[in-house]
Point group: C2
Chain length 526, copies 2
Amino acid sequence: MGLSGELFVGGGRVRTAETFRAVEASSGEYLEPPFDVAGAAIVDQACELAWSAFQPFRELGAERRARFLELIAEQIMGLGDALLHRAAAESGLPLARLTGERARTANQLRLFAGELGRGGWWRIRVDPAQPERLPQPRPDLRQYQVPLGPVAVFGASNFPLAFSVAGGDTASALAAGCPVIVKGHPAHPGTSELIAQAIVAAAEMSGMPAGVFSLLNGPSNELGAALVRHPYIRAVGFTGSRAGGLALMQIARERAEPIPVYAEMSSINPVVLLPAALAADAPRLAKEFVESVTLGTGQFCTNPGFLLALESPALDRFIAAAADALKAVTPTAMLTGAIQKAYVSRVERLLQHPRVSVIGRGNESASARCGRAALFCADAATFLQHAEISEEVFGPSSVVIRCANEAQLFEVLQQLEGQLTASLHFVEQDENLVRALLPLLERTVGRVIANGWPTGVEVAHAMVHGGPFPATSDGRSTSVGTLAIERFLRPVCYQNFPDSLLPQPLRTGAFILHPHRYDGEYRTGA
Amino acid sequence: MGLSGELFVGGGRVRTAETFRAVEASSGEYLEPPFDVAGAAIVDQACELAWSAFQPFRELGAERRARFLELIAEQIMGLGDALLHRAAAESGLPLARLTGERARTANQLRLFAGELGRGGWWRIRVDPAQPERLPQPRPDLRQYQVPLGPVAVFGASNFPLAFSVAGGDTASALAAGCPVIVKGHPAHPGTSELIAQAIVAAAEMSGMPAGVFSLLNGPSNELGAALVRHPYIRAVGFTGSRAGGLALMQIARERAEPIPVYAEMSSINPVVLLPAALAADAPRLAKEFVESVTLGTGQFCTNPGFLLALESPALDRFIAAAADALKAVTPTAMLTGAIQKAYVSRVERLLQHPRVSVIGRGNESASARCGRAALFCADAATFLQHAEISEEVFGPSSVVIRCANEAQLFEVLQQLEGQLTASLHFVEQDENLVRALLPLLERTVGRVIANGWPTGVEVAHAMVHGGPFPATSDGRSTSVGTLAIERFLRPVCYQNFPDSLLPQPLRTGAFILHPHRYDGEYRTGA
């Protein structure tokens, strides 16, 4: 289970002339071994293998795919501590967090395996023939969902397991029946290789076609661009920066055949403290807020970058308590040197802003690679005039916005761009205001949270980790939870085919076993 | 029920300084009255009214929306013969066809009303809280689908009722809870106004907010572009030419906030005659083929522009019979002068093509505004080298491709772009070949038809009227059938909200009544 630094191209391993190295997050030192860099020829090779694998992979059927996903989970767990230690070295994230993230990654693969077993993902619809209907007979119509084709997945730096090589995009694309080519994040190539080993072993054990999975590494943006441009790639999954997501959207549009890009990009995840809740419990809310802002050194898509409350003595108490809580926060290494530099410069911009004041800072950093927490404060009028205050600061920083009155609170929320989440803290006396806010928030976000914090995304059936642009490139989707499989499917209708020629799930003996609609009626299946 | 020529802006009627006129399809003469042209200020006004109507329209609830759709159907039927006569004059389509199209349009509205009554369109998912779960409790998560916002709908020329002002895009968008602004097709402004009268009357009778519907007319592309650019427009439905669809996609991408465009564009709808079926029944197939090609003067999205068969004496018999059948076809007026001119020039190009031969022509046209049918023939090698042969000819024309062998048949189908449909004619002896063709066709089209012709699109639950690009801009959708509602919806998740604050359909007493998933399990509702 050592690291070879090779690329994984459709089951085979490939060496190239050029290499790059991973960096230890905490020290900035290079880690062994060097990793091979994929060039244009290898992109072609991986895409051709993925395309050749597409039909055979589908034909193996949902049950075999489910087994494949379960084996990936098993193989990942089998990597043991070596995986956790490598991921910790490359990402700077603590072992406890990575242990949890590993469990989440394995459970996510198993959740999609279970989803395949249920058959509801086919979304079968059968409208039986009506040969006697006038003026024309109605044909027999049967609809199900088919996979789009090979998917390019971009590993994210901030979840080296759960949003990377075998993360949610890969799990949902493979579940849908789409071969996957991962463009590994250059911040954790060793972690990526270990996971790729697990996937390739699982593919072999379950007899999958070779091209079902590839891992391509490289430090340049050109590698990802070449992948998204390739005609055999039919969809893209990405989690990362707004600039990165917008660039991929642009490349995808310029293709001869445009393809869907599911990019989860930027979100400042507003939190609203309603007056009675704030008055009742300012110190607890402050403590929880600081915990959420600084969790994982603030490197979450759902980090609460933005908190709103009405001017009041309780808000002053909240701010004082938050400043206190922050003092106890010890800075930890950020994911990469580039992320840390960007964080410092964004925080610096807020520190220099004439209309923004500092509530407090975390402990000073022991190392130049750490992210020192920061809380800021501004009034709503300032926010409304200075769009730059609402830009995402990726790291342990947040801005408290003081609203003079409810009208101002609404005005600020109305100006917000699309978000992954919005959180409301309220007690019974606040409910009328909550009721007024909800329609506005529902139009703006993918998930609304009552009396909780946005960090922590449950992998479940009802989860939405998505939201209107620019939170994501396509607000009609989620990248977490079982609904994510639908990103990689499209409907096909069969008209008047005899049972023997229909795809297996649409045959008369088969569709009745799965959840389906029969002449519009909902049926759960036998 | 006369025609005023006014614009319908959110329930009110508006006059402008500029006008244009409809043209009688059969004669080319101008029809009364002149119609007002919408400019930029009116686009703004309609979009602002639509945006203001969005929340109130949603809050009226699904039952009221269903009633609204039913009333539209009722009001359209109530327009009586005046509607049919005006549509016939403007489109050149015969009354019998328009009578059928009217029934289809009304039934489509009623189908979506019924869909709202079932509640399955919310796609409710509930994952109940697990307060005892370790390491963390699981929150209560409830997901449903919410409307995107105001939708711009572009009326199509070839279905002045079923794909126009109150057609499938409007019906599905209104059903989803999205206000609609229709950009009426300039070929049938009188028909559009009559339908708009019906919608506005239905909106008044059911107490809908004023901005729920507008009809804007004008002969220029700039009107549509301004609509698609407007920040309050959140999705676009379009049926028309490839150039038109691509232009709207481009405009939508250049917005600050990109929006989904559902454009149904071009398709040549391949038909494959398998050897044994062809040998058994060449004359009948030829007759049906000619009927399908010339139905509605060939002006269907699903017109079979392209027929493939293996070289054989039976194919010669088929071609001879098709030529014979064609002689009996009397040409009829095309929808517009521009369509007729484009048709003549495309046919002329095929007539001049050195590698394409003419199988036969329909009767000569009595009028310069008619479309004279044409059947062509080419060998597969020519098709593979000359992409221009596969370009859509909008009108009663089709090309028979002679394939030397099965390998060539596969090669031609592999080169095809995305299509709305593919049709296979086969008998039992052909089934192995059908089985080999289906995976390829499933990757390329939205609907596969056994022993039938592509014209005739059933409005049903299992229908897919869509397909990979360039058949549509978004192969993950359909513009016909109840699945079309999903184009205008996106998921939202509520986390840990008390019942009293949840949207009505997600409350504990309510969701159990509708089809939903409970902790992943499929339930049909009480």
